[in-house]
């Protein structure tokens, strides 16, 4: 507890505060523009933060992450275009509300719900994270190997529609992770005699390509030459009626719980949290028929759920060093860039930094209340008037600057383009991209732990399975992988009986 007060004193200084306010505003803006997503924004931002204080860098990450989850609701409500995948569920009731002339109220509910979800999630992170970190002190290399494999297996299986393709993407990521000099033996692998490949492929370079280029190409395909007219963006301010907010409290509590649980699980993201929260609110309602026709509870559930996912997704990342989604993976790489080793040691060696980051997740959620109000929302809605075709080159340029400043090597720009074109087609073929990134991050860790475990046991592979903890993790991994197969078989049998 003591380190939280210490961390707070570090966070409440000029630069972290400026960074949090600026990044939350930027996050709302990015979320509000369909085609821009938080992963892309954080990936572009990270190289710029290399020379900054880690707390300032993390302040920017948390601001963009939390702000964008709310920002996605703006076009979702006004135009039925989700700004981010996590705001799809917001369109269900948000757009019908706007249709009835209640757009401003829907936005206000979205703003409040996002803030509440984010705050609940940050509190969960601050309480569960340190506890989990204490448990992981008992972990050896065998357990780390299984945790890495478990994280990847669950991401591979849960993301996307076809588990085989998800796992395939994860294995591809693991294989990309082996490129470069092997740390344990000095053997150069898959370098094709190119010196620039000796250090392996830079994660951020591949990530910017994979995550930023496909949406840019889709934006170009849509070929939006006009942008929106001013009439479509008219908003009038409506205050809450007495008792209206109190009616939302049960929904907020339920959705926060769902969002936090989904966040802790690796693989499931904000969109799943929002869908589950929405369905739960509908089931719990006395009037489920009104959902989808502009029920404020639906907006509250979806927006609260997707923000409650955010900070909670950092729990496994900070305490185990296992990122459950790509933003968590980016936070981990930001920490490593600053010379910090994610995992249980992090809490003991750098309590102020970890505590500070958690505080920043909390403060940026609070900032949504202040910055996401009617005025800011009205300003951000205006950016929808920019024609999509002008955004296409702008994002391409930002991608190139972001990638170039990492190493100052033009070759990285080609790697980014190639990764992006591959990512575009993979996504179209239902191959999820997140497992590739997680594989690249977890691959080196998985390989080193398994080889270290085998060195300790003098080559006895049973060591990987006989320790109680590692055995339990191995079984959990097996269950995760076989679950979709069992489900498919059961569906087939059910189909045959009919």
């Amino acid at each position: 507890m003591e380190f939280y007060t210490q961390a707070l004193s570090k966070v409440l200084t000029v630069w972290p505060i400026v960074a949090m306010i600026g990044a939350t505003l930027l996050g709302v803006f990015i979320g509000a523009l369909p085609g821009l997503n938080p992963v892309m924004a954080i990936a572009l931002l990270l190289p710029l933060t290399y020379s900054m204080d880690p707390l300032v860098a993390l302040a920017m990450v948390s601001g963009i992450y939390n702000g964008s989850m709310y920002g996605g609701a703006i076009p979702a409500i006004l135009l039925r275009i989700p700004g981010t995948p996590a705001s799809i569920a917001t369109t269900f009731d948000g757009f019908p509300m706007a249709d009835k002339g209640e757009a401003a109220k829907a936005l206000k509910i979205a703003c409040w719900s996002s803030a509440v979800g984010g705050i609940a999630s940050a509190i969960a992170l601050m309480t569960v994270g340190p506890l989990l970190a204490r448990v992981t002190l008992f972990f050896g290399p065998a357990e780390y190997f299984w945790i890495a494999i478990f994280g990847m297996a669950s991401v591979g299986v849960m993301v996307g529609s076809d588990p085989a393709k998800g796992v395939m993407a994860a294995v591809l990521g693991l294989l990309i992770g082996t490129i470069g000099i092997d740390n344990l033996s000095g053997q150069a692998r898959y370098t094709f005699d190119q010196t620039w490949l000796l250090g392996g492929l830079d994660l951020i370079v591949v990530l910017v390509g994979l995550y930023a280029l496909p949406p840019v190409l889709q934006l170009a395909e849509k070929c939006d030459l006009k942008g929106l007219s001013a009439a479509q963006l008219k908003l009038t301010n409506v205050p809450f009626k007495p008792g209206e907010r109190r009616k939302l409290i049960p929904t907020w509590l339920r959705s926060s719980g769902i969002g936090i649980s989904v966040g802790i699980l690796p693989g499931a993201g904000g969109n799943i949290a929002a869908f589950l929260s929405y369905n739960a609110a509908k089931n719990a309602s006395d009037d489920p028929e009104s959902f989808g026709k502009g029920n404020p509870q639906g907006v509250a559930a979806a927006e609260c759920g997707n923000n409650a996912d955010n900070a909670a997704s950092m729990i496994p990342a900070l305490s185990l060093g296992i990122p459950g989604n790509v933003v968590a993976a980016l936070v981990l790489s930001a920490l490593t860039i600053h010379g910090l080793q994610p995992g249980p040691q992090l809490f003991h060696q750098n309590p102020v930094l970890v505590g500070g980051f958690m505080m920043e997740m909390l403060i940026t959620s609070l900032l949504i209340f202040l910055l996401g109000g009617a005025v800011a929302t009205r300003v951000f809605a205006q950016f929808q008037r920019l024609p999509g075709v002008l955004l296409v080159p702008s994002i391409l340029i930002l991608m190139c600057v972001g990638v170039y400043v990492i190493n100052g090597r033009p070759v990285d720009l080609w790697v980014m383009l190639l990764a992006g074109i591959a990512g575009y087609f993979l996504e179209k073929l239902n191959v999820p991209l997140a497992p590739i990134i997680l594989g690249m991050i977890l691959g080196p860790m998985a390989e080193q732990s398994v080889r270290r475990a085998l060195l300790i046991s003098r080559g006895d592979a049973t060591e990987l399975l006989t320790r109680p903890l590692s055995a339990a993790l191995a079984i959990a991994t097996l269950l995760i992988i076989t679950w979709p197969i069992v489900k498919a078989m059961r569906n087939k049998r059910a189909g045959a009986e009919i």
């Binding site: 082996t178 692998r189 849509k222 024609p387 075709v389 391409l396 930002l398 600057v401």
Partner: protein
């Protein structure tokens, strides 16, 4: 459509796995086993995707590219842009892209595009060159264009 796409996808991953496995045979000791195992799994998963697609009876419509012309234009101009960054310098190349790409995509309000390009490049210059002092490619003719930063 979908079936044929998945068969090709699976075959590509099978080939990728096989090539990676073959390369891994030349790596010494333990540093070769791990990529070897991964490559074999990758090839097997590719085979699974092919098998699943072959066995799937129905095939649904799934377009690989929604707007082939726009997509191709963007990729080609993107490649040209990246190729020009070093010889031309970052700022001139980017400015050209800001104008050329919207026009190639059918945008006709030249003045509006010019204003957006100027404002956007101004912000980039302010943030990256003045505030963060990041070195960007200056190009061979920065003095002629006067934007080399």
């Amino acid at each position: 459509m979908e079936r044929r796409q998945d068969i090709v996808l699976g075959l590509i991953f099978m080939g990728l796995g096989a090539a990676a496995a073959w390369m891994a045979t030349s790596y010494t000791g333990a540093s070769g086993i791990y990529p070897m195992v991964l490559s074999i799994i990758l090839a097997l998963l590719g085979a699974t995707v092919v098998l699943k697609a072959v066995r799937a009876g129905t095939t649904s419509e799934r377009k690989l590219v929604d707007g082939p012309a726009q997509m191709l234009v963007t990729i080609v101009l993107g490649i040209v842009y990246v190729a020009l960054i070093v010889p031309l310098g970052f700022y001139p190349a980017s400015f050209l892209l800001m104008l050329a790409l919207p026009i190639a995509l059918g945008y006709r309000r030249g003045l509006y595009a010019l204003i957006v390009a100027a404002v956007f490049m101004g912000i980039i210059y302010l943030v990256f060159s003045l505030l963060l002092e990041k070195p960007l490619p200056r190009g061979a003719l920065p003095s002629l264009v006067g934007l080399g930063g």
